[in-house]
């Protein structure tokens, strides 16, 4: 009989816990299992999930991206602002995505070529981007109530919310890249040991930059969805968002040391956290206690990983 690897076991435990939580919520609140609420949950999870795909890759390569939250705000504001000025949906979304790619490029180049730790590089971009947002809009949101614009955040394709469709596409793309392409192998290699990867002929700088750019792209998509959903680009959007992504990745089994992790795990992590918050809100738990519980889950996940490693 094949020995069950710790990683597979961990994934199964995670899914099991998710199911248990769903059952608990279903018992404690009659509203949980309604189609409306479940769609809400998945829609709520969608933009976190999209950016978490990118964050997983960034953490696997041994870095981190603290600028995600600020980029949510920035890309949302750019989408809203450009749409307000041009009424052109393609232009506004295109501009926002370009912004995301630009920020990703900034982060990647600063980290790889500037030799700054990703933590520092993205700490800088996080601060600057957030501040610029407030400066440019004077602290006011840019509101766009146009139906075409908010369709992305509130619309449906058949019965599936559009953000969920985007989420599925991004998950599929990210998983494909990590599992089926040589670039995915490179990301795992650099994360496992950047020095050795260099000696094996890999262009470590280029790979890091591309990962950050992809993260920026995904975060911008998430930012557009948030703005579309709210009907406005807000300078305060996405506050603490990067922490949600990192939490999801860690809970999902991505190692902060790099070189290890799966997007599928992160997605389960996102769902777990979203379902948790959704249920706690339904049964009226104070939102600060929700944070406490989130924190406990992080500790438990990492402890599980450390002990699992020791057992191996």
């Amino acid at each position: 009989m094949k020995k069950i690897k710790f990683d597979t076991l961990r994934q199964l435990i995670l899914v099991f816990i998710l199911i248990v939580i769903c059952i608990v919520w279903a018992i404690l609140s009659p509203n949980f299992l309604t189609m409306n609420n479940l769609m809400n949950v998945v829609r709520q999870a969608s933009y976190t999930a999209i950016a978490s795909v990118g964050m997983t890759m960034v953490i696997i390569i041994g870095e981190i991206d603290l600028s995600a939250g600020s980029l949510i705000a920035a890309s949302g504001m750019i989408a809203a602002g450009v749409y307000k000025a041009t009424s052109n949906i393609v232009l506004s979304f295109g501009a926002a995505i370009l912004c995301g790619i630009g920020v990703g490029l900034f982060n990647g180049v600063l980290c790889a070529k500037g030799r700054l730790p990703g933590f520092i590089a993205t700490l800088a971009s996080m601060t600057i981007l957030r501040a610029l947002g407030y400066i440019i809009t004077d602290g006011d949101p840019i509101s766009v109530m146009d139906k075409t614009f908010i369709a992305l955040g509130t619309g449906y394709l058949w019965f599936i919310p559009i953000p969920v469709i985007l989420m599925i596409i991004c998950i599929a793309a990210g998983s494909f890249i990590m599992n089926k392409t040589r670039f995915g192998r490179y990301v795992y290699a650099v994360g496992g040991n950047a020095e050795t990867s260099k000696w094996s002929g890999l262009n470590v700088d280029k790979i890091k930059i591309l990962v950050y750019v992809f993260m920026g792209l995904l975060t911008a998509i998430a930012g557009i969805i948030v703005a579309a959903r709210l009907g406005s680009g807000q300078p305060s959007a996405g506050n603490g968002f990067e922490m949600d992504c990192i939490t999801a990745a860690v809970v999902g089994g991505t190692s902060m040391a790099g070189g290890k992790g799966k997007i599928s795990g992160t997605i389960v992590g996102v769902l777990l956290l979203t379902v948790l918050v959704n249920g706690m809100t339904l049964i009226d738990i104070n939102s600060y206690w929700q944070q406490v519980i989130k924190g406990i889950i992080i500790v438990v996940s990492v402890l599980m990983d450390t002990r699992g490693k020791k057992a191996e």
Binding site: K180, T181, R182, F183, R185, Y186, Y188, A189, G192, S197, S200, G201, L202, G259
Partner: protein, 159 residues
Amino acid sequence: MSVKDNMLLPKLGTFKSPIINKKDTSNITGSYIQDLSIALASEDEEVKSLSGGNQQKVVIAKWMAMHPRVLILDEPTRGIDIGTKSEIYSIMRKLTDAGMSIIMISSEMAEIQKISDRVLVMHEGSVTGEMAVEEATETAIMNAAIGVIENHIDKTEKK
């Protein structure tokens, strides 16, 4: 990383498609694992769980897969047991018989004398001795290693 991923890392860049073909890559790694007699449970095993000698074989396989004309091995058998050492020597012999050139850097006199065709000795950045393996006695090597230059070395001959 797994043995398979590790072994293929440089090779992946040479494939035309960015998408990994599982069958082709498995064939490649499988054949090297067999040819070099790498002892492992499966090619998906982590390299760090292999013995030192087998890890070294993975590294050698990694670069053999690139079909170089010249292979440079820096202390290839350091810290490896005698049995695996001789396995690596025979691998090296097979490679040179097939036409590959190998530059091996080593500090083990016995090893040098055993498998070299030609020996170059260096001292403080310069080549101080070049001899066929038959002439590479311990004295000759040691003399060159400490800086004594033999008459027949032409220092102006630089390639």
